[in-house]
């Protein structure tokens, strides 16, 4: 449909009839799927999917199977109890891990949404001398790898007494990041200015315009930013590894690593419970993606074209 409507002459497209409309690739040799196409796609999909199946089947394996490392690709045992046992049998506060992850990810997302919407709105709408230079700086900072600032930031947070608290992982999000500012700015730039001009005529101030007019229209991009921040914070490993060293404060991504480290080299980690933990880490991300995929897709495209052109 999309391709058909792009053709210069709509009448021609319509005349071609329903079949062409429904299937814009019909009849062209470049789009012909041979049995080999299916064979390759089936094999590749299977290869991409096998690790998931393994994750599930091992999470359902008994402790005995796990200790012998005698796993099968398809599940043969169904120890659903593992999903309860993971919280009690590992000797680690796994429930607390999950709670910590939820806390860190949620607060990080709130911080990014609040700050990037405010800053992005200002860059898109308000006029001020020096704005151009500031925006150049925003773009330039995207190139700086995090490793450059990692050590001084650590020393700063240590000085502030923030080590072994969530603060180093959460607080920087309230000061936004360049990429999100850029996304919001691009999004707001494409909203017509008529509405906020009218609102200003009616006596709404700059903050009023932001709060009442622009913010309600920003939610697609803010949803995307929230999802992006949630997934990044949820899966972050290096940040917690640097800042959190007590088990009580660890998020699940780091806690899992502790679950696999055994006291001696010959001992196998409790793989079945580690895989339950991996599922706990994975499922929320798939759920979030599924719920917000429309917005993520939009941001991907914007980010993609922004990075290229």
């Amino acid at each position: 449909m999309a391709v058909a409507s792009q053709t210069p002459d709509h009448a021609v497209a319509a005349a071609k009839g329903r079949r062409a409309d429904r299937d814009p690739k019909g009849g062209l040799s470049a789009f012909k799927a041979s049995p080999a196409t299916y064979a390759v796609l089936l094999i590749v999909s299977a290869m991409f999917f096998v690790p998931f199946v393994l994750m599930v089947s091992i999470s359902l394996a008994s402790d005995q199977t796990s200790a012998q490392n005698a796993f099968t690709v398809l599940p043969t045992e169904f120890e659903w109890g593992n999903f309860a046992e993971v919280f009690t049998a590992t000797g680690l506060p796994v429930g607390r891990f999950v709670l910590n992850s939820v806390l860190i990810a949620t607060l990080s997302a709130v911080g990014q949404v609040l700050s990037s919407s405010l800053v992005g709105y200002a860059f898109a709408r308000l006029r001020a001398p020096g704005k151009g230079v500031m925006f150049m700086i925003v773009l330039a900072t995207m190139m700086i790898p995090a490793q450059i600032t990692m050590i001084p930031q650590f020393l700063l947070f240590k000085e502030l007494g923030w080590v072994n608290t969530y603060l180093p992982l959460i607080v920087p999000n309230f000061f936004t990041n360049a990429f999100n500012v850029f996304l919001v700015r691009q999004f707001v730039s494409r909203i017509s200015g008529e509405l906020d001009e009218a609102a200003q005529m009616d006596g709404l101030g700059y903050f009023g315009v932001y709060r009442r007019i622009i913010l309600p229209m920003m939610w697609p991009i803010l949803t995307a930013i929230a999802i992006f921040t949630l997934t990044a914070a949820w899966g972050d490993f290096m940040g917690p590894l640097i800042y959190l060293n007590s088990e009580e404060s660890m998020p699940l991504a780091l806690g899992l690593q502790y679950m696999t480290s055994t006291s001696n080299a010959m001992q196998l980690p409790p793989w079945n419970l580690v895989m339950v933990g991996s599922i706990l880490l994975t499922v929320p991300m798939i759920a979030i993606y599924y719920l917000g995929q429309k917005y993520l897709y939009e941001m991907n495209l914007q980010g993609g074209s922004a990075g290229v052109k």
């Binding site: 040799s29 490392n69 001020a128 001398p129 600032t149 920087p172 949820w234 490993f237």
Partner: protein, 324 residues
């Protein structure tokens, strides 16, 4: 009397506003707008100064000192840099490993991505299902992926069992200095679905007429791919190349988790990467000066490759807007 005042007032106001426009100085309204601009961007500005610019300057200084953060820093000039580049064999090994990883995983990921996208772009039944299967791994947090691969690639793990069916005696992947890097590359290619989806959406946007014209000229599907599809998706390939390179040079979590018996960078430094080395120097040995120098060297390497990629882009990245 009152009439006169009322008549005068708007005129006076108009006059001052007109004068304001002619003067280069800003009007009150403009001043207020500028004030609000700076107020609104202050979260970013504070973050920029406090978490980026300040730390960057500090990082330059720290890289020129020897400092464990407990005793006062000792000025050593460029010694940290010269030590990394001339004396420390592990630095060169880490740099070589990182190159090896980036040089294989990034092109391989792109080739797999383009190949799969091209297959999915055909008229395949169940395309959505295939696409989901291929995209799903990119949604798995890296830590969980690494856990699965650590288990799959264990000496008596499922992957070697599979190779055993074909009579292949699999290597000790993560315990072998030869095979740990290929293992890391396999793990990274498992995430090729991200590029595939972007490339597929780019392919979907290619106008049908181009293929119709190629078909009339008698071009084979293979020729059509190279002459129509490929040029049209080069901007997306380029974007994925840049992002992939930057990401590959910063590889960390996988290496840390897959490390045998918490011997990060092992075995025999075969999986030591730039960032794992930096991390160990900083947070295991408290060599903050040396670690900062490595961070800057990493930045230079990334910058160099990005610049090279952008330079060569003119030769092979195709923008339709340039033709028109």
């Amino acid at each position: 009397m009152s009439n006169v005042v009322v008549d005068e007032a708007p005129g006076a106001a108009r006059e001052t506003r007109g004068a304001g426009r002619r003067r280069p100085k800003m009007s009150g309204r403009r001043k207020k707008e500028a004030l609000y601009f700076w107020l609104f961007i202050s979260p970013w500005l504070i973050g920029f100064v406090g978490f980026l610019l300040g730390p960057m300057i500090a990082s330059v200084y720290i890289s020129l000192t020897e400092w464990d953060s407990f005793t006062p820093p000792e000025w050593v000039g460029l010694e940290n840099y010269s030590r990394a580049l001339t004396e420390d064999p592990i630095f060169w090994k880490a740099l070589g490993n990182t190159f090896y990883f980036a040089a294989i995983s990034v092109p391989l990921g792109l080739v797999v991505g383009v190949w799969l996208a091209n297959l999915l772009n055909k008229r395949v039944r169940g395309r959505k299902l295939f696409r989901t299967f291929i995209y799903l791994p990119t949604l798995v947090p890296l830590v969980a992926t690494a856990m699965v691969f650590k288990m799959v690639l264990a000496p008596s793990g499922p992957f070697n069992d599979l190779l055993g069916w074909f009579g292949i005696d699999g290597p000790q992947w993560l315990l072998s200095a030869t095979w740990i890097k290929p293992a890391l590359i396999i793990l990274s290619v498992w995430g090729a679905g991200g590029a595939t989806v972007l490339l597929l959406s780019a392919m979907n946007g290619i106008p049908r007429e181009l293929y119709e014209a190629a078909e009339i000229d008698g071009a084979s599907p293979w020729r059509q791919f190279w002459s129509v599809t490929f040029p049209q998706i080069t901007p997306v390939i380029f974007f994925n190349l840049i992002m992939g390179l930057i990401g590959a040079f910063q590889i960390f979590s996988q290496v840390y988790i897959l490390a045998p018996n918490n011997n990060v960078g092992g075995p025999d430094n075969a999986s030591q990467m730039m960032v794992t080395l930096l991390f160990q120097e900083a947070f295991s040995f408290y060599h903050f000066g040396y670690a900062s120098a490595i961070a800057w060297l990493l930045f230079i390497v990334i910058l160099l490759f990005t610049v090279i990629a952008f330079r060569t882009a003119r030769k092979w990245v195709f923008y339709e807007t340039e033709v028109r």
